[in-house]
Symmetry: C2
Subunit: 641 residues, 2 copies
């Protein structure tokens, strides 16, 4: 029977993150265990005690070279003018590298310095010095010597030194076990059928990955339903089996958020709510002597919370230093707004354009896992800041090596599926080249080139007056700039409608007349400009179009939206309709072209990109998508050269 008063109102704290962390690490009980493991299985493990050598290596005086062992004192008279003859066995013995030096000798003369006179005699002309070319006992490791201190993470060469020191088994810190408890009625295991309202349980897999990377041993549980009794049982089981417990989610203060109440009942809550965005509804506590972290359900919030609280805990448990992320000074390409009173964690793209690093914020929605996939780093805006201005220099914590960022190709512009193909082929040609693409639409793409925030953009901008594509826009928006215009693809735009075209949409008037719900694109998108010029041609106004105000940011998003509603219609490319299993009614052929800075065009990366888009393989893959015609012989146009 649940004793929990879930109707009691709980308010979240606004505890500074560092205070919460210090309290947590200092309060919780941590009793690291030691286990003995075989040295050859110990890669990456952490020594629990200092390790001393059991034997010396070499364990005998060993010849360091192929040659003869001699007594140095007997060779002192050797001279180029007075060669010295030595007799086998009495004066010398042959030794190979690694052979023991016979007791009566104390030096080795290498084979290249010998003249063999006969089977029993060699001649030398240079005297030996005592102990030359001999590896004395313990040259490498001396018995009793400390090979490694405690708290050392074992690298391959360490294993060699341990085995050389006769250590076949050693005490290491047992990997801390971390129980991961996904909770929620709406959760379904990956692959299970999904109803509206169901969510795939993927956080657990991500958490397990973090635990592994941070040296722990993850125990991922089945899904627990939103019920205090079930949650209590799961936590109690976790406390028995593991050293640390992670529970996801129900960590906030809503009517169905039981986590706080259960932890409070079973143990102690140190913190409920921290002053960060995202990541606020975090619970830090202890249950039956085991640290427990309640993390929010939104993936990005959860990942950050684990990094802030679980990562230091696991490193602390293992007695090793928490690695620090590389940081980089960058210039802000856009303004970043922030609320007073909370630390903001803004995922950023970082690119290297015209000799400087430019950073732009990614979406800040805490539910968007792709923002973590795409992020090159994170910008931490302190609680006392209202934000940072465009052009300001800020420091970003990096998720990728600087070198990779420096070599990335920044594509910012209209979304087209062929850019993914370019990206793949470029990568195959040169593993260092990665295309980082952001889908902002054609006009914003041109602006990114103008502001030095991108190397390449993709545009399809119809000029209604001249009825030509792209060039009028380049002349207007990039006036005076050295850019290269690459005629790239012809592609079909058309109406994207549900399978079977239930409203029988064939032209723009049908949308108004048949009550279609239109799925629009954002301002500045080429498709939006095309739609607006169709409206004008047909003497329609945007007010007549239901749904005109809402904006989608890509062809695929339009198609995904159309799939949701029987009476909907969008404008977009064939491949997007096909991917979603929708119908497509062609409207116009348009020119989707690339525009790049002259300096990028002339760089290695630019020339590699040109090779890719001229390759047969690229053309074949594009034509397989359908709805495209490639430009057969691509001829760049140079502006303002």
């Amino acid at each position: 029977m649940s004793q929990i008063q879930t109707n009691r109102k709980v308010y979240l704290q606004d505890k500074p993150r560092h205070v919460a962390r210090e309290e947590f690490i200092n309060n919780v009980t941590l009793t690291p265990e030691i286990e003995n493991i075989r040295t050859n299985k110990a890669l990456g493990r952490v020594t629990a005690l200092p390790i001393f050598a059991n034997i010396s290596t070499p364990h005998y005086h060993a010849s360091a070279m192929d040659g003869i062992a001699v007594r140095a004192e007997n060779t002192y008279e050797a001279h180029e003018q007075r060669p010295l003859h030595l007799k086998k066995d009495s004066d010398f013995k042959y030794v190979d590298t690694g052979n023991p030096i016979p007791n009566e000798f104390n030096a080795v003369i290498i084979v290249e310095e010998l003249q063999e006179i006969d089977a029993e005699t060699v001649e030398i002309i240079v005297p030996a010095t005592p102990w030359q070319n001999i590896r004395p006992v313990g040259e490498d490791v001396v018995c009793g010597e400390m090979i490694l201190p405690q708290g050392h993470t074992l690298r391959p060469a360490d294993l060699g030194a341990l085995l050389a020191g006769g250590v076949q088994e050693l005490p290491v810190v047992k990997k801390p076990k971390v129980a991961i408890l996904p909770t929620g009625n709406e959760l379904r295991q990956p692959g299970a059928p999904l109803e509206p309202g169901n969510i795939i349980e993927f956080n657990g897999t991500v958490f397990a990955g973090f635990v592994e990377e941070w040296g722990g041993d993850p125990l991922l549980s089945d899904i627990t339903v939103d019920d205090p009794d079930h949650i209590r049982t799961a936590i109690e089981k976790g406390a028995e089996e593991a050293d640390v417990i992670i529970i996801n989610a129900g960590s906030s203060a809503g009517s169905k958020d039981y986590t706080y109440h259960v932890i409070n009942e079973l143990g102690e809550v140190y913190t409920h709510g921290i002053a960060t965005r995202p990541g606020k509804p975090v619970i830090l506590g202890e249950v039956k002597g085991k640290p427990i972290i309640g993390v929010p359900g939104y993936p990005v919030s959860a990942y950050l919370a684990l990094e802030w609280f679980l990562r230091p805990l696991l490193y602390h448990y293992q007695g090793i230093q928490e690695p620090e992320r590389e940081t980089l000074k960058v210039r802000l390409g856009r303004r970043v707004v922030s609320n007073m009173g909370a630390e903001d964690f803004v995922r950023m793209n970082v690119g290297y354009v015209n000799g400087e690093f430019i950073a732009n914020p990614l979406t800040r929605a805490a539910g968007v896992t792709m923002s973590m996939v795409r992020a090159d780093g994170v910008l931490v805006v302190p609680p006392d800041s209202l934000g940072l201005e465009q052009g300001e220099e800020v420091e970003v914590e990096l998720y990728k090596p600087v070198d990779a960022l420096k070599k990335a190709v920044l594509f910012t512009g209209s979304h087209d599926l062929t850019i993914d193909i370019v990206s793949s082929l470029l990568r195959r040609r040169d593993v260092n080249r990665q295309v980082i693409s952001s889908h902002v639409g054609s006009l914003a793409g041109l602006m990114a080139i103008r502001k030095g925030e991108a190397h390449v953009t993709g545009v399809h901008l119809l000029d209604p007056e001249t009825e030509t594509y792209n060039v009028p826009y380049i002349e207007k928006y990039l006036a005076g700039q050295q850019v290269v215009h690459i005629p790239f693809l012809k592609r079909e735009q058309g109406w994207i409608v549900p399978k079977g075209n239930p409203l029988s949409i064939n032209k723009i008037d049908d949308i108004v007349e048949k009550g279609g719900a239109y799925v629009n694109r954002q301002r500045g998108a080429g498709t939006r400009i095309l739609f607006d010029s169709l409206l004008k041609q047909h003497s329609l106004t945007s007010e007549q179009i239901q749904g005109y105000e809402r904006e989608m940011f890509s062809h695929l998003s339009v198609a995904a939206e159309v799939k949701e509603k029987e009476n909907s219609v969008g404008l977009g490319v064939y491949s997007a309709a096909q991917t979603m299993g929708l119908d497509f009614i062609p409207v116009a052929d348009e020119n989707y072209d690339l525009v790049m800075t002259n300096s990028f065009y002339e760089s290695d990366a630019g020339q590699q990109l040109m090779e890719v888009i001229r390759s047969t393989e690229f053309k074949q893959q594009v034509e397989r998508l359908g709805g495209y015609k490639v430009v057969e012989a691509i001829k760049p146009n140079f502006f303002n050269e």
Copy 2:
């Protein structure tokens, strides 16, 4: 029957390393295989193809908050002055975070902005905007979108995005299998009994560790004897089972080095010998379509050869970028000599003293695995250089993070086993503190302090005139410098002799009279100064002492050497004798003291160190060693303050 002409003279090439590497990577056949694995098992693996989403997430329009779903258009009149009442079901429905938005609604008002009037009615005072607080279909991942490009190493958050995109299984690059073939009659498996001439086979374990770290799957074979037929069979088996073969050793050009001949017979040799030191006798070739690397037997040479040739091969195979090591500009504490014509790879210690990074070379013997354990980085001296001068600024490739180097405590001076205890306890107190110790003797330790190359030194220097320890030397060698002298330990020095003291050594005269072979320490070592003053006291000369010229660098090395020879005798501390199971005849009690720079003494690290050496735990551990008396109340003496 062997067809191999091992008597044909083979000469090693001197091919530049980069040339050999380019040729090798470009010549060998690499056919990476693809395997499909479960997403939840894919951490750290590399995508073999671009991965596209199978479903959208969310797959329905989901509420982003707890609240009510409404039709935005119906709320436009709400105002603080004119509250609007909404009726349940007709005007709104309650939704929790993650719930689907009913088809008739298009916005969510959060619970905090509602006033519940009765069970059927809520009041609002702010209008909703369309799509507010809704996560539209595909907000995170849109079906058909490329989630990851090929050649991407999977991080925890990537697994989340894949599962969110309905990807439960994905194509990754199969881990390249690397056959590791240890060869040599002298090799014995770790733990097997050792005769003189036997060597523990530990290279294979180290190689396997490297292969794992570089993304491969190591197949470590049993030991193959030095016989062309056996080697041929082992290589043929490796070529069948693995994608790459590593054979160790026999890669040089000696009479028993069969590797070159066998590879030449079975396939092709591209390179035999590169212009590096160490690492010269490397073989690069191909056998039955599989790349093969013959690496030298000396561990350091072998590790470097694998890094130069196997590492790029494995990364190339996987289609990912080879990570670059961090580099650091450092000042050379000592001169580094180098030979023309070969690249020199000098393992270095790097320390941060008085606000700058100072680097000193470690031993350059290629057989010393401990030099790889101790190294903080490597200095590459180009082939056209004769060496680098003390004080020169050079760039070092780092094996450790800069941060760890910055926090390390540099101990340079006389070797004493208690320094290992200090190191362990300091580490336990603060995981960031590591003691990097080099055993150079007392006088060299004082010089290291003088030159700003160390934070702390340990000295036991007898001034024969005043018969006092250490202070006269500090006054002489550190004149004018702000240093702190810490009276630390009294320790016994004595004769270290074989068990049972076969020569009955009791005083220094016995060594001369009974024909003892003396094991001496290096110039500047406190023990050497003690021995020299004993000689003088007893009116003996160094010429009368057999073995006086040869120098050992630590107490343990002296003891290890004594253990080798029935008639030998050394001078050293009790614990060294005990570790090696030798007898110990006390000679003198001496003062082993610490000297540190004033700035280090005042730093956090210095104060932590003082706490450690004053702790009960330290005193207990030291007294357990035997032969020591700790200074009860340590009182620092300040010089030139």
